[in-house]
Symmetry: D2
Subunit: 398 residues, 4 copies
Amino acid sequence: MTEKEVGFVSLSKGTGASDASWREIGVGMLGYGFMGKAHTNAYKKIPYIFWPPAAKAKLVGICGVPQEAAEEAARRYEYGRATSDWRVLIADPAIELLDNCGPNNLHAEPCIEAAKAGKHVLCEKPLARSAGEAKRMWNAVRDAGVKHLCSFNYRFVPAVRLAKELIDAGEVGEIYHFRARYLQEWIMDPGFPWVWRLSRDVSGSGALGDLGAHIIDLSRFLVGEPASLSATTETFIKQRTKPGGGEVVPVDVDDAFEAIVRFENGAIGTYEATRFAGGHKNGLTFEINGAKRSLRFNLERLNELEICDVKRGQGQGFRTVSVTESNHPYMSAWWAHGHNLGWEHAHIHTLHHLLDSIANDTDVAPYGATFEDGYKCAVICDAILASSVGGERVSIQY
Amino acid sequence: MTEKEVGFVSLSKGTGASDASWREIGVGMLGYGFMGKAHTNAYKKIPYIFWPPAAKAKLVGICGVPQEAAEEAARRYEYGRATSDWRVLIADPAIELLDNCGPNNLHAEPCIEAAKAGKHVLCEKPLARSAGEAKRMWNAVRDAGVKHLCSFNYRFVPAVRLAKELIDAGEVGEIYHFRARYLQEWIMDPGFPWVWRLSRDVSGSGALGDLGAHIIDLSRFLVGEPASLSATTETFIKQRTKPGGGEVVPVDVDDAFEAIVRFENGAIGTYEATRFAGGHKNGLTFEINGAKRSLRFNLERLNELEICDVKRGQGQGFRTVSVTESNHPYMSAWWAHGHNLGWEHAHIHTLHHLLDSIANDTDVAPYGATFEDGYKCAVICDAILASSVGGERVSIQY
Amino acid sequence: MTEKEVGFVSLSKGTGASDASWREIGVGMLGYGFMGKAHTNAYKKIPYIFWPPAAKAKLVGICGVPQEAAEEAARRYEYGRATSDWRVLIADPAIELLDNCGPNNLHAEPCIEAAKAGKHVLCEKPLARSAGEAKRMWNAVRDAGVKHLCSFNYRFVPAVRLAKELIDAGEVGEIYHFRARYLQEWIMDPGFPWVWRLSRDVSGSGALGDLGAHIIDLSRFLVGEPASLSATTETFIKQRTKPGGGEVVPVDVDDAFEAIVRFENGAIGTYEATRFAGGHKNGLTFEINGAKRSLRFNLERLNELEICDVKRGQGQGFRTVSVTESNHPYMSAWWAHGHNLGWEHAHIHTLHHLLDSIANDTDVAPYGATFEDGYKCAVICDAILASSVGGERVSIQY
Amino acid sequence: MTEKEVGFVSLSKGTGASDASWREIGVGMLGYGFMGKAHTNAYKKIPYIFWPPAAKAKLVGICGVPQEAAEEAARRYEYGRATSDWRVLIADPAIELLDNCGPNNLHAEPCIEAAKAGKHVLCEKPLARSAGEAKRMWNAVRDAGVKHLCSFNYRFVPAVRLAKELIDAGEVGEIYHFRARYLQEWIMDPGFPWVWRLSRDVSGSGALGDLGAHIIDLSRFLVGEPASLSATTETFIKQRTKPGGGEVVPVDVDDAFEAIVRFENGAIGTYEATRFAGGHKNGLTFEINGAKRSLRFNLERLNELEICDVKRGQGQGFRTVSVTESNHPYMSAWWAHGHNLGWEHAHIHTLHHLLDSIANDTDVAPYGATFEDGYKCAVICDAILASSVGGERVSIQY
């Protein structure tokens, strides 16, 4: 236990809110898979973790195919009803917020229709399969005047948010370098079957949109706008067999990409993502070198931020900061210092941020990523694909 | 994303359970502070994480003082009712399980009374302030024939459970050494006020019962029974001021202890716990050296287990294993490899284990700690206090 | 102590060599600074560390300016004589080997003249200020038929050599990725004065030739030939003040560069070097991801190689291998496992390798870098500078 | 390269010493094994590393058996002559300093006789097989008025020395905890043969005197005098076979020990050493927790000291300090920051310290360990053995 523990005879934090009446926001969930589970978990935890909550999600409906699976998901997660047709969610007046956790090819149309129907929209990353598609989505939510968030959830890891706050406060100084990698290994086995993430038609791109989008967004969040870049991509395993069948399908997305980037503020750096880095499970890492401080982050040790002062002295070195103190971002809501958070918690903070934005009519930006951010990330992804063909340096123009 | 992701058009795991009907277990919670929050969080998550669940907790009532605080906790956590008298929980026929998260001096009587009333009992660690008190509690639950669990939650960290499974499978071989430390820093400031954890009357002991109990339990879980030990304790700050007032109170519990231990199976090792180790937030670490393998664990990086083969070769070294694969303990219920769990998850696994034991009438032991384990841990704690007086080696006798 | 210790009454390794007569190789040293010290240290240690040695260096003469400093260096390091004119070394028949530790603008002419005079030549990296200059040097030593080594000393760090041996033995499998960085911080202070390393005329380039050359050479050593690359460079501090005086001089070399590289064998990766990475003293790191294994190295922990098997299992993870076992490269000559080597030891191994090559007339390649390797590295450096202008992808052609 | 590099046209450090005339100190070496090699290496490097040196060692003679091995060692290391009778060294008037690297049972008599002959004496650790034997040695050197050093070389690792300087400067504050382990693995294989280090008659003790002595000395160096302790020892493999023969010999020394210690200044802590910790090659680690700072050290990463400020804040954490800056202890003599030292360098610093003490008639203490320190360490080792029998707490009395 630690000093933050509240004993049996003490008052818990939040006392006085006994007569709080919170806003209820009806949620329609599109997708019941990995991300649907992560988001639903977040909706369920927000009310008792961020006490008293500004808003509570009301789990109105969930959509997926086949219908029976959606129905089971509804029972599991306690959604009010299930459908296999996302237009049912759009049509439901009890739903104020569409949460789109579908595959990439199901991002644009449901989001646009939801916005047209006046619903707030949350969409998983990458926002779309191309910058053009993303632009249409951004236009739609902007025109509709609804809240919109693209779920770049790693902005809401407390250590990442602390990095942001340090940079904004001038504690890092002029930034010279940003280098980020997102390394995974899950398709290294040539026998690993073809899945929709390996299809350009469904996904838009491979490691680039799935993993690279995260670090591209973090670079914009932390460093600023890229001015130009050069890139290369590679597909190491050119074809794969469909699950359970003999059909061999070409892989038409990237297994990996590398890019060098020049930022508008003069910093230079690298982006890299791959699904062929053995030993790396979920290896998002970045490092920033500024005139005053260096910062390092590793998603597989997400409670830690490494900070190094540039000033010389007998005691200079990277400090491993446990970003779990009550004065660290979001941590006062949780347990006690050294009582680590996990991967799911970034989603909880993200959705809490959106619900608060809706309830209090505040901006999702700058801490939350909007559809504008999703669009700009898509522009950068497209530039990487364009550069990789002939290798020339490509300017980023939104 | 990883290979475990379920796409939009796939069936989620657990399909077919659509007609599942689970057992509902009425829970009465004693305490709404740090641990009450952690346990309640667990009850809420179990039903949709372990799908379909063997049992769901029904949050019947919560007890705490003052009454208004208990009422607010009830609203926050969605308990059916609130009380400031724990006997109300015992008397409630809708409550099948008493979850005791009260301070140490409120462990014995409510647990014993609950057992007498035929209720299952979960009690936070340390089970009691002394071996004698713990013995009465164990006798009570045994006599009553109810399920009982002492919440040594770190047994349920997947990396710790993996260590246990490796040892049980003979993968570690004869154990030569166990060394464990639990290092914290929260009361190093002499100006930190007196709190109930610094009172022998309320807590029984200081760092020993609060922190040491965890590593003592892990030693029994992983290595086996201690045969004898020698110990010393120290209180570095002898008196403190009560919060908000000028009253200076003597600190009559240990700030730290050190012990050397001989196990029945021939292994030797050390126990240490302190609240005076600057830089350590929640630093429970242990290492086991066996004839075949060494194992290392650090609670501040709880998703990792370090494993080293003893056999020589050009490639020998400690491997940092990310204990997040779907074939690792408990992980198939969660996200995907490299998507880390946090501190709260061990509680979720612990309470899931207990609910399953109740629903299926299976043994809490050996993976879960029972009141017998809580009692044996208390015997060892008492031996440490006894040895520390004159420094002699003390035999452990249950 | 460890099992390798030889007790008082045992015979030391090398017994039986009592009548060994080794070759003496006269050395002329150009430069008495940092590298001159490191190389001289190596010559002095080789005879008793690699016992019985194939050859011993005889320290014939040392050259530097001013004359008095060269004379003091001769006294310090026990060279037979001192000169401020390198042609004196070339003219000295007692000198068989010219060791060129001069600044980059003094690499070409002395090396070429030495080769013409039939002397073996060792030259510090980068071999030259441009590929053209390097080509002339390579031609000279090839034409003269002398031994030649470009001091890419990190090839001779035991952990790096182990990586090479694992790759050559097929233990890593097809290589997908190589990423390397060489990060330093020594000129971050804008008040740090202008030094010759910041002059293109003297150095050829900045971080690129000084630091980048090392990782480029390692990429060729470990992965294979680069096919093409895209790059960018930056000079963060555009001008500096000369030491002790008010003259402000433009900095006309790169402070940092970033490159993405495609290898002939299909691997892709990144090169990066900078002198603006706060907290990094001598931060050469690389990682290789192969189909069977991943390998990681960090020069600031140079006794360690991290190895990860790609094959899944409950125990997969990066192993931190202490490359200090007697069956690891070069280690049988030293102390005992866990008794670490330092930075200087790679130089000792490098020069030992060259002396052996001279004494036994064996090839310096493939483990040692030749002037051909130095030339090829210079081609790649030139390509990086060329690409950085307009950002286009540049093919590597030797 | 770094800012410390001296260019070709600059003057090297030490200019002006051109007319230095240093003291030559005749050395007689007892033992040509592991330690004899390490010490000889030190004598050879001191003159050109610590320039201009206060004193240079003249390698007069080396002693070992059999005679031919000693002769070969003399050729290898360039000693003037070889003998198999250590009394020959004592009788040699050219020898001013006896360097005793023999096995433990050859420490006392040669050291005592050397002192009686007026020679300075350096002896490897542990000083003797018992406190009584050590006392006789200390008395002898004190009575003779010669310089004496017990080679606790780890005091001279720059990171350890930095720790000492921080503590002495009050930067760590009141010390609460010291915990140290020295973990090795070299005799874990039951088939590993009997060697003299496993004989009480030759060695005095096992892991205790070989490894434990180092951490006991460091505790006295860094924390202060132990007041009392409790201990246990164990011999896991009770008998072993002699090398090359069938004779099975009982192991009559400890394979491992554990101790808890109370210091005079109120700190408490642990000592542990073992040869049965798989994966640990040379694993000396310690941690100190003070009221102001915590310090951590690991011999397998000997260039690093981890420092943590106790003061809370958003950026608190253990800093990994590369103890290689020119303002760190001993480092100005070496290379440049980030250019690591190895294990051998601590011996170089130790012997440099002794030669300087002889040349300038300065005290070996407090930075160097004297025979008094060797004696006090032996008292503590004896106390550990005494305590381990019955387990009682033993007071330390010198």
